[in-house]
Structure formats: structure tokens, C-alpha cells
Symmetry: C2
Subunit: 242 residues, 2 copies
């Protein structure tokens, strides 16, 4: 239970939003929800209906009477809030907070993130239970993040920083990149057909034009099947011309 941050929904109002928060969590691997005094009691059929495939999160959610009880066994608590609270606290971006949380959890600590009720957000009495504040840096002229979106962005940062998904990979769609020898043969084929078509003109520029051609074919990073396609195009163009 201590291996990912706990998500603590404080006095949530609509069951649908509890379910949407569960979905947002599970998208990014957060499974442990705690509920503080949910307005419509618990369990909540509207929450379960909205959670759909994420209802496992709700099935294991703990229910607590107040924030103090919900975080009593936690070592470090973040409160998410959009505005300054008149409390002296560190204010972190989700990025920095989740980096800290990863380090604390790796050291065996239990970390929780508090989210407030849909409209009003957390009260100062709730925030006082937290060690630090998370504020999402939004457009100062427009803020409209709802509960599930706040949970989503926090969970996204948690997974983003722990994922080993490469920032970029090439989807080869079942084929493979053309080998050097395949590119060489393709270059030969181009030269042959272009020589025959008097493409390399004037003759003194031919070596430069051929070098550029080889360079271009190599630089494109083409696949084996794309090389075959170009072979076919070369053959077919010449056939059509003759």
C-alpha cells in the first residue's frame, strides 16, 4: 500500500466525480483511494457506475471521518490547492512534488495527496494537516480544472517520472529498417535507371548529383518494404515510358 501515493478525496460531493477520480488514478497506476466524509455516504452506486473498469479502486477505498484520521498513518502529506492559503508552506508543482514523493516512497515512507470538494476546494483546517502544497501551474487568466482533472495531472506526473517508456521510438509496423546493403542496391538501381534517362546532366555535375542521391536515400531511414516499393516504382516508371 505504501508503494504509490494515496489519493485522499476530502468531502467529495458527487458520486460521479469519485468514480471519475478513480478512473483518472488507475490510468496512471494509482490504486489507493481514501475518502473523507463523502457527502452521499458510502458505497455510492453513482461512483461505481462511473468508475466502470476502475471500480477496483473504489472497492478498496477506505472511509474516514476527517482528514486527520485519513492521514494518521502517513509520513508526508501534500494538499492540492489553487490559491494561497495564508499558511506558511512549501508550494510545489506536481512535477516536483511527485519527484519528492518517489524519493520518499523509495525510502519506505507513506505519502498521501489531499484533494478538496468539487467547488470549494480544501479548507485551511484541511491544509494544515499537510506538509506541503501542490499547485498546478495553469494559465493565470483561466483556471477550470475539475477534481478528476487535478487527480489526473497528479497521477500523470507520478507515472511520467517512473516510466521507462522512451521519449521517442519508431513504430516499424512489423517491418524493419533497410540494411546498408539494401540501401546500396537501391542506390545502384536509381543510378542505373537515371543514367539511362539522361538524368545526370551536365556530366561534370554527375558525381555531385549521385552523392546527393545516395545521401538522401540513406538519410530517410527507410524500411525494407519502403525500399522494395521504390524498386518497384523505378521499374514501373521506366516500363511506362518505353
Amino acid at each position: 500500500m505504501g508503494q504509490v501515493p494515496l489519493v485522499v478525496l476530502t468531502r467529495p460531493q458527487m458520486g460521479e466525480n469519485i468514480g471519475a477520480a478513480a478512473r483518472a488514478m488507475l490510468n496512471f497506476g494509482l490504486e489507493h483511494m481514501r475518502l473523507v466524509a463523502p457527502r452521499d455516504g458510502w458505497p455510492n452506486p453513482a461512483a461505481t457506475a462511473m468508475a466502470s473498469g476502475a471500480s477496483v479502486v473504489l472497492d478498496h477505498a477506505g472511509v474516514f471521518p476527517d482528514v486527520g484520521a485519513a492521514v494518521a498513518d502517513c509520513d508526508y502529506v501534500y494538499a492540492t490547492t489553487a490559491r494561497s492559503r495564508g499558511l506558511v508552506k512549501p508550494v510545489l508543482t506536481p512535477e516536483t512534488a511527485m519527484a519528492e514523493a518517489r524519493a520518499m516512497i523509495a525510502a519506505g515512507k507513506r505519502v498521501a495527496v489531499l484533494f478538496g470538494p468539487e467547488r470549494a476546494g480544501l479548507e485551511n483546517d484541511d491544509v494544515a494537516h499537510a506538509n506541503a502544497i501542490i499547485t498546478v501551474p495553469v494559465n493565470p487568466g483561466f483556471y477550470s480544472l475539475n477534481l478528476a482533472q487535478c487527480v489526473l495531472l497528479t497521477a500523470y506526473e507520478w507515472m511520467r517520472q517512473g516510466t521507462d517508456v522512451p521519449g521517442m521510438r519508431l513504430d516499424l509496423a512489423g517491418t524493419d529498417l533497410a540494411s546498408a546493403i539494401e540501401l546500396e542496391k537501391l542506390g545502384d538501381h536509381f543510378e542505373e535507371k537515371l543514367e539511362a534517362a539522361n538524368f545526370f546532366h551536365p556530366p561534370e555535375k554527375a558525381p555531385f548529383m549521385k552523392m546527393n542521391l545516395r545521401n538522401m536515400l540513406g538519410r530517410w531511414g527507410m524500411t525494407r518494404s519502403e525500399a522494395q516499393t521504390l524498386h518497384g516504382i523505378l521499374r514501373q516508371l521506366v516500363r511506362g515510358r518505353s
Copy 2:
């Protein structure tokens, strides 16, 4: 118009989702929306109602008959999709894609990001118009991101990488950190009251205990008002004892 990525919603179905996408965009500073063949025509009152404060995004949205027309003036196009497409394409995380997009836009290029219809997502004919694919790295066992959430995460990455918001700051709530001399006086006050209470015992350990006390008071990073509170506590405790 070329200074942030364009968001292209392809054949969106529900007006509410167009409005929600506009809100997601504006939270993170993306203002330029293009619509490809919206199912219910355009303008769409349901979109405007949902967009609320973000309706300015809808007011300036361009409407195009197909993806090719919508991206004709763009230099680089990303397609967001969750699954492999059988097309040879680079596949990027939102993080890497928005880092690339920032570099391209800084170089004067126009960048667009395609999003598909709510349920089916983009078709291969749409993806073929893109230079690269964005796939959000989610929990492989659970994927439930909706259109507005995909837009939100992409826009969030755009702003996250361009923001100068510090990862952590201290909300001082109108007060200031205690100065060195204030901490010195507070330490003196502690020592005075604790000497009187025979706290520093046994005598040979007193220097070490005092050093730890000074270190602790300095390390806490307390504010001026917290230091005043501690002065008051010291006075009051002694008063109660006598």
C-alpha cells in the same frame, strides 16, 4: 497564430466534448482550435455552453472539411493515438513531442496536434497526414482517457516545459523568514529560560545540548511570526510554572 501548437479536433461528435477540450486547452495557454467536419455542424450551442469562460477559443475556431485541409498550412503535424497503426512513424511521449514542438515553433514553424473522434479515435487516413504520433504512456492494464483529458495532458506538457514557475517556492503568507539576529535572540531566550529550569543537565553535556538547540532553531526555516510565537510560548510556560 504559430506561437503555440494548433489543436485539431477531427470529426468530434458531442458539442460538450468540444467545449471541454476548449477549457482544457485554455487552462494551459493553447488558444487555437481547428475543427474537421464536426458531426453536429458549427457553431454548436452545446459546445459554447460547456466552454463557458473558454468560449473565446471556439469563437476563433476554424472549420475544415478534412484533415488535409486543416493542416495544409502546417509545417509539422502530430497525431494522438493510443494504439499502433501499421504505419511507420516515430511514436513520442507528450513530453518529448511538446519539447520538439517548442523548438520548432521557436524556429518559426507552425505545429498542429490532431485528436480523433470520441470513441473510434483517428483513422489511418488521418494519421497518414501526420509526421509523428503522440501516445500517452498509461497503465497498460487500464486506459480510459477521454478527448478532453488527452487534450489536457498535451496542453499541460506544452505549458510545463515553457513555464518559469519554480518547482518549489515557499508561501510566506505575508510574513518573512526570521533573520539571523532574530534567531540569535530566540536562541538566547530559550537558553535563559531553560537554564532557569535546569534543563541543561548534566553540566558537561550542556554545551552540546545548546549547540543542538541553536542548530534546530536555525534549521527549521522559521518565519518572523513563528519566532514571535515561540518567544510568547517561552514566556507563558514559565509564567504558568511559577
